[in-house]
């Protein structure tokens, strides 16, 4: 499943959980019956990703969760066991609860469960249809954190724009002049990835950490290059990984 679609899915599901049920059709306080193009696309992507499938035993073509093949996926009735602090369930920070995915009425009911919650959630808030085996549970979408520095899902812009290499050096030199602000560059992507993995904390916000000598440098607006002493980390909201992370001189504004 394309990460960009997952992002939109996560946001939509989050909006529902937050009670923003004022779009699409037949909203209630707790869930939304999706009949719009977005829902259709999400379901198509979910089917393509192997998360749901048409139930061959259903006369009306109801959808059901799959066992997810070899993907990182949990399917269980006892979802509370998955919702303990520290569980790395998916890069989005959500467990997606799929409840009564029915095509009979051309709608689906989705509800999100915040990662880290210890509350047992009702996966069928509307109580609209009886759940059947294979149609309920919690699913962690495939694609857990990979700490390979080439993983954009984990490291965001960290190495695309601040990684080692002459192309990034040229780009960052131009950007330093354009913004009037120093630009950090990692000198060893693999070592930086290991450092960032060890510093990963899904509950922490943007912050600064010290880095070993020789791991990064900062290109100043003048073109001068100086060694970096710290790194600014901008984590993914609610997930394992980073939107970006770059070397700086000094600890920066973050605690």
């Amino acid at each position: 499943m394309d990460q960009a679609w997952l992002d939109l899915l996560a946001d939509n599901v989050d909006a529902m959980a937050a009670g923003h049920a004022d779009w699409c059709d037949a909203p209630t306080a707790n869930y939304v019956q999706l009949r719009c193009d977005t829902a259709e696309r999400i379901l198509q992507q979910s089917i393509a990703a192997g998360l749901v499938e048409v139930d061959p035993g259903s006369a009306n073509g109801a959808l059901r969760l799959t066992s997810c093949g070899g993907a990182v996926c949990h399917l269980t009735d006892n979802i509370s066991s998955l919702l303990v602090p520290g569980n790395s369930l998916d890069p989005l920070g959500f467990v997606i609860g799929l409840s009564g995915l029915e095509t009979a009425g051309n709608f689906a009911i989705w509800r999100s469960l915040p990662n880290g919650s210890t509350t047992t959630h009702n996966l069928q808030p509307g109580g609209a249809s009886p759940r059947r085996a294979g149609e309920r549970g919690a699913v962690s979408l495939p694609g857990g954190s990979s700490w390979n520095p080439r993983s954009r899902n984990t490291f965001g812009h960290t190495f695309d724009t601040h990684g080692s290499g002459p192309s990034n050096t040229r780009s960052l030199t131009g950007r330093a002049g354009g913004t009037g602000q120093g630009q950090g560059q990692w000198l060893d992507n693999a070592a930086a990835a290991r450092l960032l993995q060890s510093a990963s904390n899904p509950t922490a916000g943007p912050r600064s950490i010290p880095i070993p000598p020789g791991l990064g440098r900062v290109i100043l607006p003048s073109g001068q290059i100086v060694p970096a002493t710290h790194a600014t980390l901008v984590p993914l909201p609610g997930g394992n990984g980073y939107r970006t992370a770059y070397p700086v001189v000094g600890g920066g504004p973050w605690p």
């Binding site: 394309d2 960009a4 939109l8 696309r41 899902n153 131009g174 950007r175 939107r243 770059y246 504004p253």
Partner: protein, 170 residues
């Protein structure tokens, strides 16, 4: 100057269509955004952002457009629904956030927060929600249009089709 984001093609220079992507043609949207912004940057496209009495912001195509486009589907979706949204210009040296908060009568209040010592002269603006949506849709379309021009190989790629569908999703 109201907050706006535009992707501008080069004024006079001829475009230099890029070939040779066969081995690295993006299949996912994030890859498409990364590769696409790099190609547009090579062709002297400009990402012009202004607002909060600052014109222009020190943005560039390769870095800042890329990260804004990544946020665009979600932000668009939220504003279309009349919900609060944010655009985070978290690139090093820019580090500012635009919060979009819904007001009555389909209006939005935009606030700019800086994560640096720089602060906007005016940190608050109001705009019509549909104008914000129009701007973001035009930015998405300008990206797709630019890609079609600078990369014949990407013109019919599934990732580009998906990008258009994603930002059109209502």
């Amino acid at each position: 100057m109201k907050f706006s984001m535009k992707l501008l093609p080069p004024l006079a220079a001829e475009l230099n269509p890029s070939f040779g992507l066969e081995d690295q043609a993006p299949t996912e949207i994030r890859e498409l955004l990364f590769v696409g912004c790099g190609l547009l940057d090579q062709n002297q496209y400009q990402f012009v952002v202004s607002g909060f009495d600052v014109t222009p912001w020190p943005t560039d195509v390769r870095y800042d457009l890329h990260l804004v486009l990544e946020q665009l589907p979600t932000t668009l979706s939220r504003v279309r629904r009349g919900q609060a949204a944010t655009l985070d210009f978290f690139g090093q040296g820019l580090e500012r956030i635009v919060d979009l908060a819904p007001l009555p009568d389909s209006m939005y209040e935009l606030r700019c927060r800086s994560g640096m010592s720089w602060h906007p002269t005016f940190d608050k603006e109001t705009r019509r929600g549909e104008d914000i949506v129009d701007d973001m849709e035009q930015l998405s379309e300008a990206f797709a249009d630019g890609l079609r021009k600078v990369s014949p190989e990407l013109r019919h790629s599934q990732a580009l089709v998906d990008w258009i569908a994603l930002t059109a999703a209502k």
